[in-house]
Symmetry: C2
Subunit: 442 residues, 2 copies
Amino acid sequence: MAEQTPLLTDLYELSMLDAYAAHGMADTAVFELFVRKLPPGRGFLMAAGLEQAVQFLETMRFTPDDMAWLRGSQQFSPAFLDQLSGLRFTGDVDAMPEGTVFFPDEPLLRVTAPLPEAQFVESRLINLLHFQTVIASKAARMVLAAPGKELVDFGLRRAHGAEAGLLAARASYLAGFSGTATVQAGRDFGIPIVGTMAHSFVQAHDDEATAFEHFAQVRPRALTLLIDTYDTERGAAIVAALAPRLAARGITIRAVRLDSGDLAAHARKVRAILDAAGLQAIRVFASGGLDENSLLALCRDGAPIDGFGVGTSLTTSSDAPALDCAYKLQEYAGRPRRKRSEGKATWPGRKQVYRRHDAAGAIAGDTVALLGEPVDGEALLRPVLRAGKRVDGFPGLIEARAHAAASLALLPAPLRRLEPGQVTVTISESIRRLAADMDRRP
Amino acid sequence: MAEQTPLLTDLYELSMLDAYAAHGMADTAVFELFVRKLPPGRGFLMAAGLEQAVQFLETMRFTPDDMAWLRGSQQFSPAFLDQLSGLRFTGDVDAMPEGTVFFPDEPLLRVTAPLPEAQFVESRLINLLHFQTVIASKAARMVLAAPGKELVDFGLRRAHGAEAGLLAARASYLAGFSGTATVQAGRDFGIPIVGTMAHSFVQAHDDEATAFEHFAQVRPRALTLLIDTYDTERGAAIVAALAPRLAARGITIRAVRLDSGDLAAHARKVRAILDAAGLQAIRVFASGGLDENSLLALCRDGAPIDGFGVGTSLTTSSDAPALDCAYKLQEYAGRPRRKRSEGKATWPGRKQVYRRHDAAGAIAGDTVALLGEPVDGEALLRPVLRAGKRVDGFPGLIEARAHAAASLALLPAPLRRLEPGQVTVTISESIRRLAADMDRRP
């Protein structure tokens, strides 16, 4: 079921290609992907998913099975299907590198390709870029909320399917998480994998101390014990009693995990119990319904918690599971194009985003301008594909992660504190003039 | 990246299995999957995803590549990995059939298997059942909100990845949608696929009328024209002028699509324009940021709209992208087990759900009881797997869809109207007594 096929698309992409083929419409089209507005309460977004988007563009192929199914569907002309079977992406892509922070109305990706190619890739391109951007943007808020803390993705089970679980691990690591519990993400992306134990492990044993000892034996180097199955402080006391016995066998308890109740209050009591037993080195790790707001509160409150496992709110981006993004035709056959639908009008033309920094290096404002328009600032869209081939120097995940950290550091201070605030995005006069000119035409 | 591998799991599942193996813990375990509470504003949930969950259990295998990677990770003992490589699911599963409506605290699935098997499948089992249940529950609300209307899933692009897009198409069809735009879902699940055209198609042409004619030529039997790219009523007028010309060529316009602005107001104007041209047979189809609340409002308002395309709110379940669900150990080695964590305590023991109906057939209330406890009502959990093999008569998607429709018809009237309301779920006295007995033990 989950193999990659170009049939993972909307039917209308194929219908439109059929019509483009029938009328020989294959001139160069320019599409841009952008977000119309920020989700409520958000101050910035973080671009992610470009690696998977590029892989999709590089490898997109209809297999003979795909073509046989399309023929059998009787929805398309045979001549068109013959043409479709050879479809490849041969165009250019320019995009913000993964980890770049961005704002509404800014194209984060521009596709320049023959119309059928640029059109066809729409559905999956959005599907890939939207999701990781959603997750990286959410994860970045958690990273800012809990500076210096270890943050781990625990969210596979409630992520929306297999790919969501995997790519959420990637996008959160990119944004600054330390690791993930998802084993396959360790294998596929080289992300550090981290794990503790479940309540069922404790429950399957007749007593908690035995459960802890049994687990210690198989995790001697990375031992985290879950202590809230019955009573958190009693669990901490059991750990305190067990630690010297384990130490005698060369096993160090790295951390305890709290997963329920008032985490700050429990953390304080647990910290005191461990400290009183001379176990200052055992870290306190917390999980259970956390999001960036609770992380912010726990950290401001000075709760003695060293790391957090974040699940559902991260991998579903629970407050904003989707962004109002669009992939729109801005130019075809050398002429700018503009959609004027109520509330959804687009800015026409091929565009670039220029970023200005203040004296301290923080982001001072962005300008969206026509490509080639002389505007000060750092150009954010960089070449990614040329004639369907990846350009040299495409950043890997580690590089993207460093870029994300650098990007977050340059956010204006209120945005870094997750306070409401806004970076001004200016639409250049040339774009506005072009749009007005087009609107005057019938 | 997207092949199915048992490495799509949480690291702790493997660590726990390592410990279970080291201590010979392989007695029969009983886990149950349930939802702790309804999302705000919701009155019911709909079970979905069992087909994919069962496929996962039936086919779960570590490949030699998986094992090589695990060996290389140096996280597990070689003896354990030898044992793991042969892991199969050999247990029993009982579950609510897909399409069953259910309520908090009710197990929708029970796994009875040797502890390592029952434990290991946790992460992916939740991942599969949770997601489709989220989507079917959301889609069911839309189906109830828009009785008699054609509802189509348009949400691939903002679904969370490939699997989410595909399975959202499946879950929404199961809940009563008419079809999906996602081509692969047509191929994989036999769901009717439906499509219109994008704004870019209109924009790529120099005028709207030419775009419509070009599209008509390739969709002569299922033609829907998108009329809001520049001005909705002008688009309708163009359609009215075009229809006789197309009719002369044997092409019938099936529908027009509105995608922006005040949909009710535009629909009325468009309907009037079409009717005045004698085009009563052309249907009006609407899309653009719809959810069950806007469907309810449009339908109550009598807006002349025949069908709706629903995207983001459906495939991300935007108001409730996750459910507070859990897969918990309720019995091991013949003894009931209970987690007592604050706010997350579970009801111990192997359970069944019994449903009572009133004289009119509507759901009157459910009782969760211990398996074998004599309770009136229809038992909702049915045998699914026995010794790892699917029992005869497992319902297919069409059958599940019929069951969903029947289930929705039996909801109490306020829930069918999406009003707040509650079906009472009674936890049997025997379960409460068992829990109390267990809590008295140290």
